[in-house]
Amino acid sequence: MALTNQYIKEKLQEKFGDIVSNFEESYGLLSFEATATNNLKVLQFLYDEPSLQFQFLTDLCGVNFPDDAGREISVVYHLHNLTENIRLRFKIFVPVAAPDVFTACNLFSSANWMERETYDFYGVNFVGHPNLKRILNVDEMDYFPLRKEYPLEDQTRIDKDDEMFGRG
């Protein structure tokens, strides 16, 4: 039986009820969200359930929505069932004041660095991570650069003395 988005959705709703919500399908990819504290339960269920078998973590990354109070930081998982060849996207949202998320390292070895990268850029605190420290940026950095509160420099600014680089 080919696995369909509809079946996955029903299976998840049957198991988790209100914990999972916002099911949508864009460009053929099923996308849904779950409450932050249940992320591991959902991942584990998707991994173990014989008819689902989402055992390949394709991607894990953060997104920042500064205007969405209480849900500023999102962690997005892309999972892949390689035998049925179907992907899905799974999101959780946490407040920027307490961005605590359980680590998926014990389930996927690949999550280790991807979580470190997400910590590095968004400051998501992955609870239980074996080695949560910066990975691409310098250790001394004291902010999380991909958050929207740090805009790139306005290229039209004129107050800067930057003669050597052809500006100002």
């Binding site: 460009y27 055992q55 394709t58 991607d59 997104v63 997005v76 070895s109 691409l136 650069p145 790139l152």
Partner: protein, 410 residues
């Protein structure tokens, strides 16, 4: 005076009692072929543990992308895996096209396939010949470089540049392929099989090479999947996952090719898988070139889709027509609003699944763009691959994983 001072050298505490040696390999080391640092603990020549440091050439691509209109992101993708830039460029264009709902003509798809497979050959060629260099055979590397040069000349004929290509546009190519480009392609198709065969003969059954690579850096299929391996490295471990087959893009479904797989996932199998993939790529290019030749008359002039909002109008129109001038300006300044939504799209890059996760809030630039960079994900497995092995094998393992610092550090 000097001799007297030497008596007062203070060694770190515990360093005399310590039974292992700490060795700092990299960040810039001739054997790492890129900026990679490993702090290794060695017991004699055996590796006890290693700690990797990455990020030396981090250039904040994801942040930069949030300030750029779609077409300006293409040059950023060049600098990910710079051994096969065209695949990255086209992966990005394909993502944009899927996001915007653009249908490309078949001829464009086939031309793209030719370029992407040439890029795959040049990527694998570098990787395999470097494995040769690291095991002591420089000849193969120098010999095949001539043909990478020929591939670069084809790129040059198509887009004007060689390494960081910025090839193509959203919707197709910036210009049609010239006759010279096709002539060079024919030359490549004619001469390269002999060279590849010779290259293969030099290594595949070479006893020294086999003994250096068999069993080194091996990983099981199960661990490879858990570590998020993709591309030739995963296939060498025995899993036949290839994005070109699983989610065909750019009309890959029209071609007949096989996915080579290995068994043991060691350095030797990775070499063989890449080698066989080059043969498959050659066959795909031949098929695609045949299909391209079937387009006659005006069909043979098609090299892009009609995407007026993203594809620059013709230069002569820009000089003579108001509407074209306006669109030229709007596109260059990035004044086109994108639809809202999010998309994940992947292509089979030189070293694995290269994915683009694009979130748009309806503005002119992406709200968030994340690159799934295959070698960032599988480089995590490196300590597991080399622990317990010899230092010299660790160097070969690093080359055979096809790590590209530009892609790793984004």
């Amino acid at each position: 005076m000097l001799a007297h001072q030497q008596h007062h050298i203070t060694l770190p505490e515990g360093s005399i009692e310590k039974q292992t040696t700490t060795l700092n390999v990299g960040p810039t080391h001739p054997a790492t072929h890129g900026v990679f640092q490993n702090i290794m603990e060695l017991d004699g020549e055996r590796i006890v543990s290693t700690e990797q440091t990455v990020g030396y050439i981090h250039r904040a691509f994801e942040k930069l992308a949030e300030r750029r209109p779609l077409y300006q992101i293409t040059p950023i993708t060049d600098r990910l895996n710079y051994c096969s830039s065209p695949i990255n460029n086209m992966g990005w264009h394909l993502t944009c096209e899927k996001f915007l709902g653009v249908q490309t003509p078949k001829r464009v798809d086939y031309l793209r396939v030719i370029i992407m497979e040439l890029a795959r050959i040049s990527d694998h060629l570098i990787c395999n010949s470097i494995v040769g260099v690291d095991t002591g055979a420089y000849t193969g590397f120098l010999y095949v470089m001539q043909y990478r040069e020929l591939i670069y000349e084809i790129y040059e004929e198509v887009c004007g540049s060689r390494l960081t290509t910025n090839i193509g546009r959203i919707g197709g190519f910036e210009r049609n392929f010239t006759n010279t480009a096709f002539e060079k392609l024919e030359k490549f198709l004619k001469e390269y099989p002999k060279v590849l065969k010779e290259f293969e003969n030099l290594f595949a059954r070479n006893r020294i090479f086999m003994e250096r690579t068999i069993g080194g850096g091996a990983i099981s299929a199960e661990r490879a999947l858990n570590y998020g391996f993709t591309g030739p490295n995963l296939r060498a471990a025995g899993v036949d996952y290839d994005v070109r087959v699983h989610q065909p893009y750019s009309s890959y479904q029209d071609f007949d090719f096989t996915i080579p797989v290995g068994k043991t996932g060691d350095n030797y199998d990775r070499f063989l898988v890449r080698n066989e993939e080059m043969w498959q790529s050659l066959s795909i290019i031949e098929q695609a070139y045949k299909k391209v030749q079937e387009f006659k008359g005006t069909d043979a002039d098609v090299f892009h889709a009609d995407v007026p909002e993203y594809y620059l109008p013709k230069k002569e129109d820009v000089y003579t027509k108001m509407e074209s001038l306006i669109w030229h300006f709007k596109i260059v300044m990035g004044e086109v609003e994108m639809p809202k939504g999010e998309i994940y799209n992947a292509v089979e890059g030189g070293n694995g699944e290269l994915g683009f996760y694009l979130v748009s809030d309806g503005g002119r630039t992406p709200f968030r763009l994340h690159f799934r960079r295959p070698c960032f994900i599988y480089y995590q497995a490196y300590p597991e691959l080399i622990t317990g092995g010899m230092l010299s094998d660790a160097i070969v393992t690093m080359s055979s994983l096809n790590l590209i610092a530009g892609e790793l550090d984004a």
